[in-house]
Symmetry: C4
Subunit: 231 residues, 4 copies
């Protein structure tokens, strides 16, 4: 039962990335997890979005063993699995090569918190990982991608910083649900594009104050939030 | 009666921001005021635009007390109220996080009047506020956002300069009606994008002469205007 | 008879500017001329495109006197008239505030011929006028705009250089017909955007050689042209 | 028989370039070859895409002699023919003036391999040719364009580097089929746009390591590929 609805949620998260223009051809993938069973639903590798159905999604366990589905899972699956294991509270992961966010990953620079749009979603800069070392690339590459992310988060709360830029690669995002992971991916793309344009307008632009960063983040997150409708 | 039509005007102004691509998800809000009753109609907080109806808008008095509506008003309401109180002639306020204008706000630089497109709408640069001080952020933040705007306008005519960039945040725009406020927001986004590209083409670009600025502004505004059809 | 079809051609040229995304709200206008009668058909000032019909266009003589139509002509009409008088071979004029071309006008830099896309349409850089002097702005401003263009073309062939950037303002384009003028406006916008991105990729980019510029221009223009289908 | 289906494939490749926004008006062309007969199918010159049918495409032999069709072939045909002769394994060629890739061609800089999106398709930078010398421009220009490309590939494998930037002109792309050539053109445009934005975020950005470049390229190409579905 839970898997049936999760398949739909994961498909919907993948389609949201497409609708928002974050995905060229098949460059991107989203997944979700049922924490009780430890089963992950993920997009198949290299399959066009137009015709994708919930049944095409692949179900794997946390070791990556295919439990349901006849297609190969996304080749980035091992990265997703490492993230699910390291960040117990997350329920969805999204990965894109969206233009602006990928450009910052390629620039190998963290995205500074230049404004409140950023601070509404990220408590601090969007971090960038260390580049993978040759040995980390040679074997078990996709899992090692996950590991450099986790290492970068040694002192970071994944719910305060729900995305990372993998150096020379692209962003990974996450949230409580696949929908939230996709939402973060869309917002990150906007924040990244704004950050570039901020540098065009002022090459010496500085991050906003810690006070303003905190104000905006906690206006939307945690027990003191007052944005949106009461639930 | 007046409130009924104002609800529709305010909804329409909010939708215009969406149609013109200035709004991602729910990042933006527009409001309007009935000057006779001193009642403000504003978008509810964090509600999707697709399904928003006039009845979902919230009516408040100038102290922010909800007079009609069951949803929470936009969290930026206190900023709108300060603007309505300080600028008696305005009838609508719009706030977006549109990409280019927000980038200039994040750059904490005023937008120079680089050309006649700008001068047609703004008599001088688009100003940027001072950053809020820690105490201004800590409590009564949204109202203080309005206050730093008003302080920035000590020597400016809000009808000659119908928008401002809040430092590290985003633009606020206004006009005689909600429609006009939204129109200014759309034009400001275009002007901001052009200003960035102007700097790319010539990092030493200079504003146009005061003569040309005045010519274009007063071609469209005030008693000597001769643009458009006679009314 | 001729006026009837010219009205349709001019409306179509105006709509082409809109369809190609060169026009925000009412920022732009196109016109055409019947050389036999010396009658100019031009867009009315400040009227929305969505509902514009051929009958809404205004017919004026070369002194700007309205011959047909109940609406005011575009406020840029005097610029168009100066161009028709100075460049006898042209049959259409287009004016936009399209983002990239206007940015170069604001940068007050000519667009260098960085590549063959440019050379296919312009034999040399896209020139920029001198800024108007205070006296030229104060009275007869729109006609003086035309005059600074004409002065800039003292040694240029308007068919080899079918557009100009008015300093601090925006481009004017022309061609044998209104359709051609609009086509040039669309291509100029693309060329301007490419030129900016060329500078981002290489701030020291240089124009292509005179040989390559000539090759491409005359591949498409004049008696030696061999691009397209034989006519 | 083969020609009938190739006509459809070539038309489809041309239309893909249009759908993806790589083509303004008629700036671009794609072709395909039947290696058995040595016959090339190519877009006619200067004909609008909206109404183009398979029968409008032109069939020529490898000397450029028209074998079927009443329209003139694209003026870039001689470049295509040189590429088909020099690179025996390719089955399709695509040429566009897409904005970002053309900007790099105009910048006369190779596109560095800044990230894995690039490395998934190109094993190394996207190279730029030498500018053509005056004599190469004066006569046999389009064939000489092909020749400078081929010279640039003296030490490059056209399947590891399926595109080139012609200095001061624009990109040429190729693949095993017309569809693949068009696909490369679309991806190249994205890579070029990302590379520019990478430089905005970090003017000192460096290519990713050779290890990471190889990993990504061979994850998708050759006998060790493991991306996509098994075939």
């Amino acid at each position: 039962m839970r898997l049936t609805s999760l398949r739909e949620e994961v498909l919907e998260a993948n389609l949201e990335l497409v609708r928002r223009g974050l995905v060229l051809y098949t460059f991107g993938n989203a997944s979700g997890i049922t924490r009780d069973e430890g089963l992950v639903v993920i997009k198949p590798s290299g399959v066009p979005y137009e015709t994708m159905k919930p049944v095409d999604l692949v179900v794997v366990d946390l070791d990556g063993k295919v439990v349901e589905g006849s297609l190969r899972p996304s080749s980035d699956l091992p990265t997703h699995l490492i993230l699910y294991k390291a960040f117990p509270g997350i329920g969805g992961v999204g990965h894109t090569h969206s233009r602006a966010a990928t450009s910052w990953a390629q620039a190998q620079r963290e995205i500074p918190c230049f404004g409140t749009t950023h601070a509404d979603y990220f408590h601090g800069p969007v971090p960038v990982t260390k580049p993978l070392a040759p040995a980390q690339i040679r074997s078990d590459y996709e899992a090692n991608t996950g590991r450099v992310i986790v290492r970068r988060f040694a002192k970071l709360d994944p719910f305060h910083t729900p995305a990372v830029l993998v150096a020379g690669h692209a962003p990974f995002c996450w949230g409580k649900t696949p929908e939230e992971a996709a939402h973060i991916a869309v917002v990150l793309e906007e924040i990244a594009a704004m950050a570039s344009q901020t540098l065009v307008a002022n090459p010496k632009a500085r991050p906003i104050s810690k006070y303003l960063q905190q104000k905006h983040f906690f206006r939307k997150h945690g027990g003191t939030a007052y944005y949106g409708q009461k639930k």
